[in-house]
């Protein structure tokens, strides 16, 4: 625990030790519970119990059906704007330090993205019905 106390003032990887610990406990709890219930619970395998459950209706066809490209289109546009937002974090932290110049840089970057966004909307990429 000394390590943790000492490094509290500095910014080191070990500041994240509590988070890691929490993560391990959270994931570990789920894993242990699932394993234990799996091992301890009684199992009666009958044919009716082993078929896929589909809201009580007899299952039809195959689950591996090709899905619409529209989902993909929205997803890929999401990624692009996601990356744009990521760039704002380092800017926000240094907002005062970078001053007017930095502001103009970010505005230029956002302007390009705004052009792209207007273009996407006008082209109807986000319209679900076509």
């Amino acid at each position: 625990m000394d390590v943790l106390m000492l490094s509290a003032e500095q910014n080191t990887p070990f500041n994240y030790f509590p988070i890691a610990l929490q993560l391990v406990i959270a994931v570990g709890f789920v894993v242990v519970m699932m394993l234990v219930s799996h091992l301890l619970g009684p199992k009666r395998k009958t044919e009716d119990k082993l078929i896929n459950f589909e809201s009580g209706i007899p299952s039809v066809g195959n689950a591996r059906q090709p899905m619409g490209i529209k989902y993909f289109l929205v997803a890929i546009l999401f990624v692009l704007f996601d990356v744009e937002v990521i760039f704002f974090y380092p800017y926000a932290v240094n907002f005062k330090y970078l001053g007017k110049e930095g502001f103009l840089e970010v505005v230029l970057f956002v302007a390009f993205f705004l052009c792209g966004f207007i273009y996407i909307v006008k082209r109807g990429a986000l319209e679900w019905e076509d």
Binding site: V3, Q10, N11, T12, P13, F14, Y16, N62, R64, P66, M67, I69, Y71, F72, L73, A75, I76, L77, F78, V79, L80, D82, V83, E84, I86, F87, Y89, P90, Y91, V93, N94, Y97, L98, G102, E105, V106, L108, F109, F112, F113, C115, G116, Y119, I120, R123, G124, A125, D130
Partner: protein, 179 residues
């Protein structure tokens, strides 16, 4: 620092074995899941190097968004039939030999390199504020220019992904008939 070394080796083992899982598993969905695990392990490495921003971005963008895209692509394909083409023995042999030679070259260069022992004392280079200072001062041009890349990606999404209007394909068919 004992803990550091243990974490380093554990994360490395996870990263390498999951990366192997990506290429060795037959089911593409399993490959994607292995890749997500690899990204998490690499994020752990970033945290060890005190680059927390990269660690988070790696999880948000790569493990979160891009992997979802990968899954979408896999679901767009028809995976019912096992149609993976088998390469000929000769091609496989050629691949193994050339890959092995490349591996040897890299291994030799790394082995003889004067790699300085990794600095374990904490540096602040990877922290978000320092990263922002470098990104918006020194590397401002690549930052701005990357928007061109994003614009082309947006155009690509429209040109490739958007259904062409029914009218155009109908007229195209008409033209085809008249020919």
């Amino acid at each position: 620092m004992e803990l550091y070394d243990i974490l380093f080796w554990v994360l490395s083992a996870i990263a390498v074995s999951c990366a192997l899982g990506v290429i060795l598993s037959r089911n593409p969905v399993n490959s994607v899941l292995f890749l997500i695990l690899t990204f998490f392990a690499i994020s752990g490495h970033y945290v060890l190097m005190n680059a927390q921003f990269l660690a988070i971005v790696n999880i948000i963008v790569y493990a979160g968004a891009i992997m979802v895209l990968f899954l979408f692509v896999i679901m767009l394909m028809n995976l019912n039939a096992d149609v993976e083409p088998q390469k000929g023995q000769l091609v496989q042999l050629a691949g193994v030999i050339s890959g092995g030679i490349l591996f040897l070259v890299v291994l030799a260069s790394i082995k003889t390199a004067k790699a300085e022992i990794m600095d374990k004392t904490s540096t602040d280079i990877g922290l978000i504020s320092n990263l922002g200072k470098v990104l918006f001062k020194e590397y401002v041009l690549p930052f701005e220019i990357s928007s061109v890349l994003f614009l082309s990606a947006m155009i690509g999404a429209i040109v490739i992904g958007k259904k062409e209007e029914v009218k155009t394909s109908a007229t195209a068919k008409m033209e085809h008939v008249s020919e």
